[in-house]
């Protein structure tokens, strides 16, 4: 029995580290400008899924996770319904143009996209499509399926988001620890002033400044597009800056709180080295609240990517969303909304489960 326990405990450490390393390696590989084979992405996802399944199974969370997944389905359905009716009740169709189309042409188009059948029929058809992974045909890009457009634009968005989040964490956490370690002296103050500053700065101020310096001035980086390492640097910095600043502030206050706790005083009393205390006792405990911010970070990065993709002309989902709204390309709007919402919900689920991993005291029900 105890041997069995040991084995579980070891796997519980090896699996998440393995998954994390795999994801980071994939990110680095991708950042270096190589295109990632699908098999590697699937492999990463499987690794994460295996870890979650194992963690859930060994910690009695299976029911909870299944319940949450069912809830996710429900929420996705609710969002699909909500957006469907929101968009269909808007007066003025996608094919209203300044120059009126001949009635026959208009009728033919509307028949093709099935816009004349009763609303409930359209709705049922749409939900059926969502369930089977077909999101209908785009109005604007004639003959292209929405799923197809999303699939071709998702990689750029996912890359951008992933890079920005990694940047946010690897800059934010050390900065926060640094500030806390120098609590209330000028190093702390400078770090925090910078953080508040970066939280307040709009991306359309950072971007022009960076572009003016590194593109027009030094001629080091390309202005726009999304084709390789040199293209990735500026958008990722612009997108990751604000979450990094928020994480730095969170880490700082969380570290400060932990430093004042009894077990740290005990560790000091035992005469442990400053460094050991910081890394072994303080950091581990203070990262839990920071981790819980990963959900909002995802949401923030999603929203921020609209502006960043627009600024740097990155062919991602946000760009398509903006265009599809101005074009009244309803199927595309619906499709992108659904994808974004699903991503966000899954991110929150992942964070909740990770939470129980890092803090066994938390009980999910």
């Amino acid at each position: 029995m105890s041997e069995n326990r040991q084995w579980i405990r070891q796997l519980n450490v090896i699996l998440p580290i393995g998954a994390l390393v795999a994801i980071l390696l994939t990110a680095v590989w991708s950042f270096a400008g190589y295109s990632i084979p699908n098999s590697v992405i699937v492999g990463d996802i499987v690794l994460v899924a295996v870890f979650f399944a194992f963690h859930a199974a060994t910690h009695g969370l299976t029911n909870y996770v299944l319940k949450r997944l069912l809830q996710t389905l429900f929420v996705v359905w609710a969002i699909a319904t909500l957006t469907f009716f929101l968009l269909r009740t808007i007066p003025g169709g996608p094919f209203d143009q300044d120059k009126a189309l001949p009635p026959e042409v208009k009728a033919a188009i509307e028949a093709k996209y099935d816009l004349n059948s009763p609303l409930y029929k359209q709705y049922i058809q749409y939900i059926e499509g969502v369930a089977t992974g077909h999101l209908g045909y785009s109005y604007k890009y004639v003959g292209r399926e929405v799923t197809d457009i999303v699939a071709s634009s998702a990689p750029a968005s996912l890359q951008l988001g992933l890079f920005a989040m990694i940047l946010a964490f690897i800059v934010g956490i050390p900065a926060g620890v640094y500030a806390a370690a120098n609590h209330n002296n000028w190093k702390d103050n400078i770090t925090m002033v910078a953080a508040t500053s970066f939280i307040s700065v709009p991306s359309f101020l950072v971007a022009p400044i960076l572009i003016t310096i590194f593109c027009f001035g030094l001629n080091w980086l390309p202005v726009a597009q999304w084709d390789g390492t040199s293209f990735y640097i500026m958008p990722v910095i612009v997108l990751g800056l604000q979450p990094a600043a928020v994480i730095a502030r969170l880490t700082r206050s969380s570290v400060l709180e932990v430093i004042r706790s009894d077990f740290v005083r005990t560790a000091k009393a035992k005469g442990l080295k400053q460094r050991t205390i910081l890394f072994k006792h303080v950091l581990k405990n203070s990262l839990i609240p920071v981790l819980s911010y990963a959900g909002p970070v995802t949401a923030g990065v999603l929203s921020g990517s609209f502006v960043v993709e627009d600024i740097f002309n990155i062919p991602g989902m946000a760009k398509h969303f903006i265009l599809s709204v101005t074009n009244r390309d309803y199927p595309l709007v619906l499709g992108v909304t659904l994808i974004y919402a699903t991503l966000l919900i899954l991110a929150n689920l992942v964070v909740d489960i990770l939470y129980t991993y890092f803090d066994p005291k938390i009980k999910l029900a």
Partner: protein
């Protein structure tokens, strides 16, 4: 009224570490004794930890929570400067018509993309419009967005959250599920959907109003979500407190307890959320306008200006830097002021 607040203030200060009930049980044997001999001078002489938990002693020389917070806020110089800055920007927005040297839409074809000069301090844009005037008018939109959405969120989110937390049980679960659903649509996507719908449906509104109203409506629809969550959590906590029980035992109605006892006591967290909400909404408006889905030219907002400035970034970078800086300083002021407010309210959090 003041008395309830003061009492709750203490309840709030201790509630994370120890429930209010603890104060009573701790002090129940010793307190009467201490009560007999204690004066304010004695209380001052005893080191703080020793009298912790004996709440009447603290009250003997304590001012109200609001007064304390105000004093702490006044001492925070950075927050004070920020408040002044916000005041100045608000004044600029209110008196935009009188301050702006030109109109926001008058085009001057003879002066296209003029560099800064005495007549046009920030130069003119690609249609010959005065950039400084457009910047000044743009502040109106930002301030309107900030204040309007804050009021709507305050009214709706507080009531929604309070009712949800107060009712509890199934109704609470249902109401919170709706919040969850709205919350899981990425904010900007939801904003755009609502804005588009509003613009399409309201065809016979005066165009100047319509330009802003869609954005305001969209931001109000999602702004209350976070507030509803916070208020609900606070109400759930406050429901367990003794002052609620005592109010109920005296026969107060649900509505009376909720709005006259609980809400004034949880005003602190509400104000903190609102001060965080205002800059977030101002930022969202600029984002929306920047990507071309918010306010449309010729109307001016800082996002619209940035969008227009973007076209000429290579040759005239000041056209995008100027609205960017305006937004940046306003955000900074709101954030620093918000931090100061939070620290003033909850000194432990610092």
């Amino acid at each position: 009224m003041i008395d309830t607040t003061a009492q709750a203030g203490e309840g709030q200060n201790v509630n994370s570490a120890q429930p209010v009930g603890r104060v009573r049980t701790d002090g129940s044997t010793g307190s009467d004794l201490v009560n007999g001999v204690a004066t304010a001078a004695v209380a001052d002489a005893i080191p703080a930890p020793a009298i912790k938990g004996v709440d009447f002693l603290e009250r003997a020389h304590a001012s109200s929570l609001w007064k304390d917070s105000w004093n702490r806020l006044k001492r925070n110089r950075l927050a004070f400067v920020s408040a002044i800055f916000i005041g100045v920007v608000s004044l600029i927005a209110i008196f935009a018509q009188h301050l702006a040297p030109y109109s926001y839409e008058t085009e001057n074809v003879n002066l296209i993309l003029a560099p800064p000069s005495w007549a046009h301090w920030l130069g003119t844009d690609d249609l010959g419009r005065d950039v400084l005037s457009r910047l000044i008018y743009g502040s109106q939109v930002s301030m309107a967005v900030g204040i309007f959405t804050a009021i709507v969120s305050l009214a709706f989110g507080t009531v929604y959250g309070a009712v949800s937390g107060w009712l509890g049980g199934r109704m609470d679960a249902l109401m919170m599920r709706l919040v969850d659903i709205l919350d899981s649509i990425p904010t900007l996507v939801l904003l755009v959907l609502i804005k588009v719908m509003f613009d399409a449906m309201s065809t016979n509104i005066n165009p100047e109003l319509k330009a802003v109203a869609g954005v305001l409506l969209a931001l109000s629809v999602f702004g209350w979500l976070m507030l509803a969550r916070v208020v609900r959590g606070q109400v759930l906590q406050a429901k367990q407190m003794l002052y609620v029980e005592s109010a109920r035992s005296m026969g107060a109605s649900d509505r009376w307890i909720l709005f006259r006892h609980i809400l004034p006591n949880i005003m602190g967290p509400i104000i903190v959320v609102i001060t965080a909400l205002i800059p977030a909404n101002i930022m969202f408006e600029s984002f929306l306008s920047f990507i071309g889905l918010g306010l449309q030219p010729p109307y001016s907002s800082w996002g619209v200006l940035a969008n227009e400035g973007w076209k000429t970034i290579r040759t005239y970078p000041h056209l995008i830097i100027a609205p960017g800086l305006a937004l940046y300083f306003t955000m900074l002021a709101f954030n620093i002021f918000g931090d100061g407010l939070r620290d003033a309210w909850d000194p432990k959090a610092k």
